[in-house]
Symmetry: C2
């Protein structure tokens, strides 16, 4: 299941980026599971990565390579996460970078490796290495949709989006892909996301842009509260659109780019939620008038991750008592339940610590039947608003995750 149409729309090619895919047969024979990105020389590359202490070998190695050299290639495999694999996992990740580097004639440090799939099983690195020449041979500028398909695991559909903007009379493209459907509660990063623009942006500015965009998108979604060991997101600026290099995180050009990149990231993050494992609903939890960002997020995540709220959403049951209970246990100091309000879309359900006088079960039920719902919580105690996005909790979530390895 998935929520919404999931149509990809036009994916503009990005000057300076070519993509090739291949089948290494890592988990299943014949499945496209290997993706190579080639980035033009002189591209700026920024990355954010999972904060999970059990981060995967490729995450550790990508961070190291990013600090040491200018990346020219990204190497991504699905079917195996190469996480919880100790020293041999690191050797495998290094071997895969070395193989790609040798194939294309660069240094191994110029390859960033990424893996996604089952945790704790040895990466069949010889299969991955064997598929690299085919992926390199297939490199082409229009490979974005094939790459979006190639990085899927339990995803039911590819996730990709594209924008064209104009800066100083110059046409700028931003295109990105992502994957993820379970083990989704990114922490300063995401599942896997790859976004590229042909704008010219200095590396430190690009990193700042990525941090802002990831924080407002991937760091605001949760499907099951489980942070992956492999979350990684990369933003590339090739500079092929021409124009002056953006070297400061301010000004109209920066603002236009940041705004377009934020939109791209939010599209990709929402696409992940819409394709959440077993999802039948796409739910925004908006917490307004909080004292600060932290308490807004505490309340939003308590509601978004409550199994009881999520099963009620699955049942289309306006059991709003469960929303109140989740707000109440969120750990907000001195929360005054008598002044907060809760709406389902535009239907006021709670005020003065209880059911709103105007509320009717029919009105609540009508909203809950929708496939897209906003739970709006107004704490009435400050100026901050934050939104997180999540899904319901269905039989299929249990089925998908009970049968994942079988």
């Amino acid at each position: 299941m998935a929520v919404g149409s999931g149509e990809l729309g036009t994916l503009h090619t990005v000057g300076g980026v070519r993509i090739g895919v291949a089948s290494a047969g890592i988990k299943k024979p014949g499945r496209i599971d290997t993706v190579v990105f080639e980035l033009a020389e002189g591209s700026s590359v920024a990355g954010v990565f999972t904060l999970n202490a059990f981060c995967a070998a490729p995450v550790t190695l990508s961070k190291k390579h990013l600090a040491a050299a200018s990346p020219r290639y990204l190497l991504i495999n699905t079917g195996n996460a190469n996480a919880g694999t100790g020293a041999s996992g690191m050797a495998d990740a290094e071997a895969s970078c070395a193989a790609l580097a040798a194939e294309v004639g660069i240094a191994p440090e110029q390859v960033l490796p990424f893996s996604t799939g089952v945790i704790g099983e040895k990466l069949p690195v010889e299969k991955l290495v064997a598929a690299i020449p085919a992926a390199v041979a297939a490199l082409s500028a229009d490979g974005w949709e094939r790459a979006a398909n190639g990085i899927m695991t339990t995803d039911t559909r590819p996730k990709a989006t594209s924008r064209q903007i104009e800066i100083d009379g110059r046409k700028i493209i931003i295109t990105g892909i992502s994957k993820g459907a379970g083990m989704i509660k990114p922490n300063m990063a995401t599942m896997l996301g790859y976004v590229a623009t042909d704008a010219a942006i200095a590396p430190d500015v690009l990193q700042a842009m990525l941090d802002v965009a990831a924080d407002a998108s991937f760091n605001r979604i949760t499907i099951d509260g489980d942070t992956s060991t492999n979350d990684s997101c990369v933003l590339v600026a090739t500079g092929k659109a021409g124009g002056e290099m953006l070297t400061a995180a301010e000004g109209p050009a920066f603002d236009s780019l940041q705004s377009a990149i934020n939109e791209i990231f939010l599209d990709l993050a929402h696409a992940i939620v819409r394709d959440g494992e077993g999802a039948t609903k796409f739910v925004a939890v908006e917490v307004a008038a909080a004292k600060d960002v932290s308490e807004a997020l505490k309340v939003a995540y308590a509601v978004a991750e409550s199994p009881l709220v999520k099963t009620a959403l699955f049942a289309s049951d306006p059991n709003w008592g469960r929303i109140l209970a989740a707000i109440g246990r969120a750990g907000v100091d001195g929360l005054d339940v008598s002044i907060l309000t809760v709406h389902l879309d535009d239907v006021l359900i709670t005020e003065k610590g209880g059911r709103a006088e105007s509320y009717t079960e029919a009105a609540g039920a009508a909203v809950m039947k929708q496939s897209e719902i906003t739970i709006r919580i107004n704490l009435n105690r400050g100026q901050h608003t934050e939104t997180v996005w999540t899904t319901d909790f269905s039989y299929d979530y249990v089925k998908i995750n009970a049968e994942y390895r079988s």
Copy 2:
């Protein structure tokens, strides 16, 4: 579903405690949903209550009454939680206390009210009030098992336990009941729990005893991470066994009582987990060699509440990578994954950041097939050990909670 036999064993009567039940028809006609406890004059009573900010009207009123007077009666109803009901909910709770007080000739402040069931719907207080005379007429010393049945909601079986100990040559009885199967992550309290002893214990000592016992039992279990609005636990000491009043929280008599009371509480807490909504497994998560209690509990709860770990438990799939991922995201500062170990019962699954050399899938699968499993995590960085208890996550959990109000 439920794990283990659930047989109650002998429930000793407690001198000074009589219990009566009745049917008020609050949610379903004919169902026993009203329980009255009568406590002998001079009994000490201690209580712990939910920390959920949206706590129910009866919780607020019980705390107020407990501070104001010596309780003589407990009035419990199921079928409606009287939570999220604002000012009218408080009026209903007060009316129910007043009705019982009038029936038995005491002050309303001497009644502690408790409610459990659906949140956010008005308590049909007139039905509850009408059932009080029948419950009072039914008061008898051997009402414990009927009370255990009478406080059930989604529970599939009653929860009760009893101990007889000897202190200074005097026979002392401790008997208790509890209820709860979902919305279970107690916070300084529990679902509903009622434990009584005929020992003579001063109120402040009794409260200290209750705090210790609840913290080591009800505050160490989680089914879905959702803290109820109505959690309450009461410990009563009637003094009817005779002997000197225990006035200090130390000494051999105190130690014997605390130890027996801890056992009673742990029995009742485990009974709740075994009867967790949709549970097919009873799982202990033991975190050893942590730097302090807080980090041990962070890791234990991250594992115990991970939907991915819980669905793997349901599938009997030794997908231990999910356990590592949960440990890794628990938020422990400077966690060194290369020195920690994880066992499933006695099977070593993880060491040196990856799969243990001695591990075989067959050995892991054999443990996962059991209905009772201990996940043992050794952080190898300190002296503290904590254990929490939980269940798996099954289709039936979703079913029970999707259909709860229908």
